[in-house]
Symmetry: D2
Subunit: 147 residues, 4 copies
């Protein structure tokens, strides 16, 4: 992609990534590039379910938000990203001390962007992919966001 | 369905519904019936995203967990439910004071259960469907749950 | 929905439904209403797979096309529907003498329409739902359709 | 993968790939490896829709079947693959003279296998990805396949 991000825009996207529910969940953006974003979370008891595994909703939220911000790197500054839909497959239970999510835009577009994301469980012996996502994002002008 | 739930099992499922990430998110089971579950969350600032809407991840987590517990009503007590995959469509932004999620099993099975769920935004003027989910759940014997 | 279809538009949609791959597959529109469409196919050997069941692709194609035409009932005449994505769950194998598909728009929109569809296997003892679909359709002006 | 396919098994899978609806649609397996399959179809008028594009159902059927056979390479000979569900995103319209589909198993399993597939439009100027699929397949003993 010829497209480039200014360092100001990169910093904005990284810091803007964490807000509200995402800050509450402890997710942080760690790398930003045009059409790509990588995020990370340190896992605590609040992220688990009854059997000690990391909750599917943690991975789904992380993948949705990371894919959304991968899309956000490619749109004009007066637009926002809304998730149209996503689908997530859980490949195996996650139980490690951290999760990393890597998302990329596989089809850019002015109004619709298609993204992929994968969630990796960080285990002592190395990282293992635990979820895979295929998502549709919409770029919406800020002025059209209304209740 | 001829199948019935004892009141003990109903109470167990309702109280077991909230644990770890789900308690953290504030979701509660409000109604349980064979193959069906309804949950609720009062929305706070921690559930929102940058533009004041309820985060897509809140709705995805709620729908996943509620569909999983709808499936959990139909399986033996020595089994657990793991999400194989789900797909969620967001119909419109949610911004109300609470969300309600209603899930039901549309195809029971010994090992695989297919579920639907819908999330409803509770607005002063009434409730509005904001997300729709189609999910695949696996029933796994507790003894086979391992890291 | 206050929206109404003229009988000319209904006839156009029903006859336009069958073309190219859809005619080849033998699918026909049998009922049209605003935001809704029902289609039918008589099953022959060409629709089956190795074990005698109706091929998953037959049901997927039928559900996609029927959902697309349910959306097509709600858009201006100078627009076309393109499928953005769909997800299909197969509930049980289908093997009957015909399939019926019923689709409806669950969220209309000027550019994006969200649809549901279900496929029913017609068996001597009655019809049984064999597949469920959740789909995202885009309404595109004819003039923007290009290679 | 240490797993290997005998040349007999490869030939069986390639020839078994085309049957019923798949033969009718003109799809053929061109490459088989453990956990992977590549298929091809020459496009004719019967594969198109009203605006001259290749029908979404053609790509969905091809991706489903190719992913299913990628899974079929990894299971015992007395088992069959049934599609539990798949999700397909259409990235751009396809209109070329042929399609190629490449599928691979991203998570093998004794009962459940998760697969990815992509469909590529063969254009004079080169191939372009037009659809991406994430699918869940079930391995079922032949003796349990029943109506």
């Amino acid at each position: 992609m010829a497209f480039e991000l200014t360092s100001e825009r990169k910093e904005f996207l990284k810091s803007n990534y964490s807000y509200g529910f995402i800050t509450f969940c402890g997710f942080e953006a760690v790398n930003v590039a045009p059409g790509q974003l990588e995020s990370r979370v340190t896992i605590g008891e609040n992220h688990r379910q009854q059997d000690g595994f990391i909750h599917a909703g943690v991975m789904a939220t992380m993948a949705d938000h990371t894919a959304g911000y991968a899309a956000y790197t490619l749109i004009p500054e007066d637009h926002r990203i809304l998730t149209v839909e996503f689908k997530i497959n859980f490949l195996r239970p996650a139980y490690g001390q951290a999760l990393v999510c890597r998302a990329q835009v596989i089809k850019p577009g002015r109004k619709i962007l298609i993204c992929e994301a994968a969630v990796y469980d960080q285990r002592p012996e190395g990282e293992v992919m635990t979820a895979k996502v295929l998502a549709t994002m919409a770029a919406v002008p800020v002025k059209d966001l209304r209740r």
